[in-house]
Amino acid sequence: MNWFFELLRASIGKKLLMALTGLAFCLFLLIHLIGNLTLYGGKDLFLSYVDHLHALDPIIRVAEIGLLFFAVIHVFTGLLLFWQNLQARPVRYQVNKNAGGRTLGSATMPYTGIFILGFVVVHLLNFHFIDHSQQSVFQAMDTTFSLLPYVIFYTFAVIVVAVHVSHGFWSLFQTLGANHIKYMPAIKGLGVVLSLLVAAGFGFIPVYVSFLM
């Protein structure tokens, strides 16, 4: 067990935690997105998707607990790294300039991360922790997105998720040691595609529901 704690104490060990939990969230995002795309096929298709999902209840429970566990690790490790990194440079530069490595995604990771945590809480309150015997998920969505502030908030939040993923995706491969001149461009490309899919696929849902449905 000693090696395990030694691993977690090391900076690279914490990176590994961020990468593995991040990978799980990327997979979750993809599955969540594919499910939600049924919405564009109309109310019936969406509701039948929700029904099918509930038929898998035991698996869903396990996945939920797993995701919660990963979220705790991702958030706490991330905050610890953020704090340690601030400490590592007690006197800041007077002039700050990028050399071209930093991106919008990489520079804002802790901030977009904290925002996403807040968004996930709101999102769960809107759709998960509601009385499902009183209203279907579809009705919950209808009421939520009938309010313009929610439409704006959700659309914005999804863009923030995409920005987070734009750095997180390729970065997790780098951390796992999978960086090769031949494959890295493809991994980076996939990351961009995933971010755009997330932004476009999820991002239009609130607008679609409130204005077009």
Partner: protein, 251 residues
């Protein structure tokens, strides 16, 4: 060849040995030949300061030909200045325009305590090397050259990593003040070669632990280091360090 001369305004970080915090002070650099290096320009300014009875600006340097890794300062927010793959001693004044204002700051990191003005103590990098940046060789006669065959590709990769001069620009440029590029270059250069393999697992662990203990920040793949490294060390080395580290931890 008649060289052009330019006039510059410098804002240089000044901090005495006993002072807890310093400040930017403004100096005029007059009639600077564009053929000069940045350090030669500082020499000219220091001469003026000395003549005026003022304390010259302290800065580190040695070879002045881009191979020793002693020099370095942050110029207008960029480690070793804005030119790619260039050390400060090889940054020429022709890259500046007449009338430019240049802000000169020391490397900033908790692990690099400031000594004076632009001079910082980089012995943390030495501590990391002492922890494992070597191979153990039993004494005896020199082995035959080419007794151990190494393919061209491996030799080249090892040599690319070995190009690191230990200047610390990667730490200075990293938003997290992490030393991962330096450590990865040292670990890679030895891990790639057969002579370095026997100690590779112990080395990767020991050097990462030493790096963490020195108070450097954590790498978050910002890739600013590879953009600023005067020797063009790539973050591919960091991925290799990660692999070496995991291998040693999980075995």
């Amino acid at each position: 060849m008649i060289s052009k001369t330019i006039n510059l305004t410098l804002k240089v970080w000044r901090q005495g040995r006993k002072e807890p915090i310093g400040r930017l002070e403004t100096y005029q650099a007059k009639d600077i030949s564009t053929d000069m290096s940045f350090l030669e320009m500082l020499d000219v300014v220091n001469e003026d300061l000395t003549k005026a009875g003022k304390e010259p600006i302290a800065f580190d340097h040695d070879c002045r030909e881009g191979i020793c890794g002693m020099c370095g300062a942050v110029i207008n927010g960029r480690a070793h200045g804005q030119e790619k793959k260039t050390t400060l001693c090889q940054l020429h004044m022709r890259h500046f325009k007449d009338g430019d204002t240049i802000v000169v700051e020391p490397w900033r990191a908790r692990a690099f305590p400031l000594v004076k003005d632009l001079v910082v103590d980089r012995s943390a990098l030495d501590k990391i090397i002492m922890a494992g940046g070597y191979i153990s060789a039993n004494a005896g006669g020199a082995p035959d050259a080419n007794a151990i065959p190494i393919s061209k590709e491996v030799a080249e990769n090892a040599f690319n990593a070995a190009a690191c001069i230990g200047c610390g620009a990667c730490v200075a440029a990293c938003p997290n003040a992490s030393a991962m590029l330096f450590v990865s270059a040292k670990v890679s250069h030895l891990a790639l070669l057969p002579q370095g393999r026997p100690e590779a697992a112990r080395r990767a662990r020991a050097m990462v632990q030493a790096m963490d203990a020195c108070g450097f920040g954590n790498c978050s793949n910002e890739t600013e280091c590879e953009a600023e490294c005067p020797k063009g060390i790539s973050i591919v080395e960091i991925a290799r360090l990660n692999r070496e580290f995991f291998k040693s931890e999980f075995s």
